[in-house]
Subunit: 310 residues, 2 copies
């Protein structure tokens, strides 16, 4: 009944007689005793907690990724401490806080970690994983490749007057998707697409789509930097301009969210495989060693009715 014995009883491979262990576990059961993980972490230096910072908690992709990550981590007996950056708090403040909880690693679904703090994380042995951040370990969908595949596809379908709707101007993700698309056109000796700026959300995308569709000559197809904007554009084209989607106006997105496959929309898109991305993130998160790596998880072109002519 010594303190050490109890500790050993709860430690998987400890040197303790089976009888003693059983006795201790039994007593714990009836007394309602459970080891205090805080105290354990204090000694061990590892908490089994992964810190996650979400910059835009309203953006469904991040939530899906969070859920997927949580499922993965549970399997490894690790857990997730969530911080959301809404309402003025900078990412630095949140990460600083996370470090105080002595998290084993940080997963950043937000931009804006300052290089000095990133440096400190490295020094303290806390790996930082992010979608897009120089200096950190990154895991990404194939933004460049996807953009290019979409451009290629639209041209193959005979669309000639192409438009592009970007996400937030400062978003690296958006810029990569745009670059993939535009560079492909340039490589074919074609002029750059008509460009409008969405901000990844529905409202702005609707405005941008209205503006674009009112122009003459009207573009005959658009590539939007994410599916949400593409669906907004599709709705505007169909319901407000009475265009037949696909034949009169092609729409393509990026991400392949569930909605894209609904028959009502049948949106052509390039997939961003949440599961695949998170699998890789989990892998890196669980393996502290290693230099900054940059993984690109390929998706695939999903050909649907929103870009089929005739």
């Amino acid at each position: 009944v010594s303190q050490a014995a109890v500790s050993r009883a709860f430690t998987p491979g400890a040197s303790i007689a089976n009888g003693t262990r059983a006795k201790v576990l039994d007593a714990a059961q009836t007394l309602g005793y459970r080891p205090n993980l805080l105290a354990r972490s204090l000694i061990k230096g590892r908490t089994g907690i992964i810190g996650v910072v979400i910059g835009s908690p309203r953006y469904p992709f991040f939530l899906e990724a969070l859920a997927a990550l949580s499922v993965r981590m549970s399997k490894a007996d690790k857990h997730i401490l969530v911080y959301t950056a809404e309402g003025g708090t900078t990412v630095d403040v949140l990460v600083e806080d996370l470090l105080q909880y002595r998290v084993d690693a940080v997963f950043l679904m937000a931009a804006g970690l300052s290089p000095p703090l990133a440096e400190r994380c490295r020094n303290e042995g806390v790996p930082v994983i992010s979608f897009n951040m120089r200096g950190a370990i990154t895991v990404n969908g194939d933004n460049l490749g996807g953009g290019a595949r979409i451009a290629e596809h639209l041209l193959a379908q005979g669309y000639r007057n192409l438009a592009l709707m970007t996400g937030l101007e400062e978003s690296i993700t958006s810029r990569e998707r745009e670059a993939g698309f535009s560079d492909h056109l340039a490589a074919q000796g074609l002029p750059p697409p008509t460009r409008v700026v969405g901000r990844f959300d529905r409202e702005t995308a609707q405005q941008a789509a209205r503006e674009l569709l009112s122009r003459t000559p009207r573009p005959d197809a658009i590539f939007c930097a994410n599916d949400h904007m593409a669906l907004a554009a599709l709705e505007v084209a169909r319901l407000e301009f009475g265009l037949e989607i696909g034949r009169e106006f092609g729409v393509a997105g990026f991400g392949d969210i569930d909605l894209a496959a609904w028959p009502t929309f049948s949106l052509t898109t390039y997939s961003l495989p949440v599961e695949g991305v998170i699998d890789r993130v989990a892998e890196v998160l669980l393996d502290p060693e290693g230099e900054p790596t940059h993984s690109v998880i390929g998706g695939e072109l999903k050909l649907r009715d929103s870009t089929r002519r005739g």
Copy 2:
């Protein structure tokens, strides 16, 4: 430069000279020192961490609620440790684990906490909040009232041959929405609605809708226990059966998710105000005292085109 002085420097209202505090904070800055919250929690008995268990991480409502809660909690300097119950782990195991981390409270978005463990949580002073669990503190949308309002509305619009699509049979939420709906019909002396069982998801709902719409006489309106099923039913009716939604076939849901308001669907529904519900949850979570309370957060009927005749 004593240990206690440092502690005081980092404690908001402690008795310490401004000069000393400045000096300590300054030194900490350059040395990269940050207090260890684990050690602090070990003494204080409070961690500032709220445990959240999500039973169905694929169900968007829970994710939205999680995001909303995280934002609320950040403001109170509390944080969220997320556990997902996918792949066989029981809620009991997860809550047990949460208790080991000495969380200040538990928010359960999952069913299945055993009464003995619930009891233990109470004894240890860890409040348990849930959407639907006897014995615990609960916060809910107005399932009963909403179901009734929908029934009332459908009748007022002249629909006469009503159908109902439930969620999971074991879901209390689904049963309440059903009861609100059916009881209203009964109170009007009308026969019970035709009843099909969905499982809250799209696939099952599509099957159920197909089956229902093939019957003779065909129902002229349906109430689905959530918006996702309602949208699935709407799509099937419109695209597979060629019905004019609203005039020939009325569709109503529950929840008022973003999609419901999209012009493509324009789904009539009774709102489940995520923000309102989570506001209340946060309130209870932050205030440990109090007996089991049961809050019902009212929503409102959203009249849209999916239930307008003529």
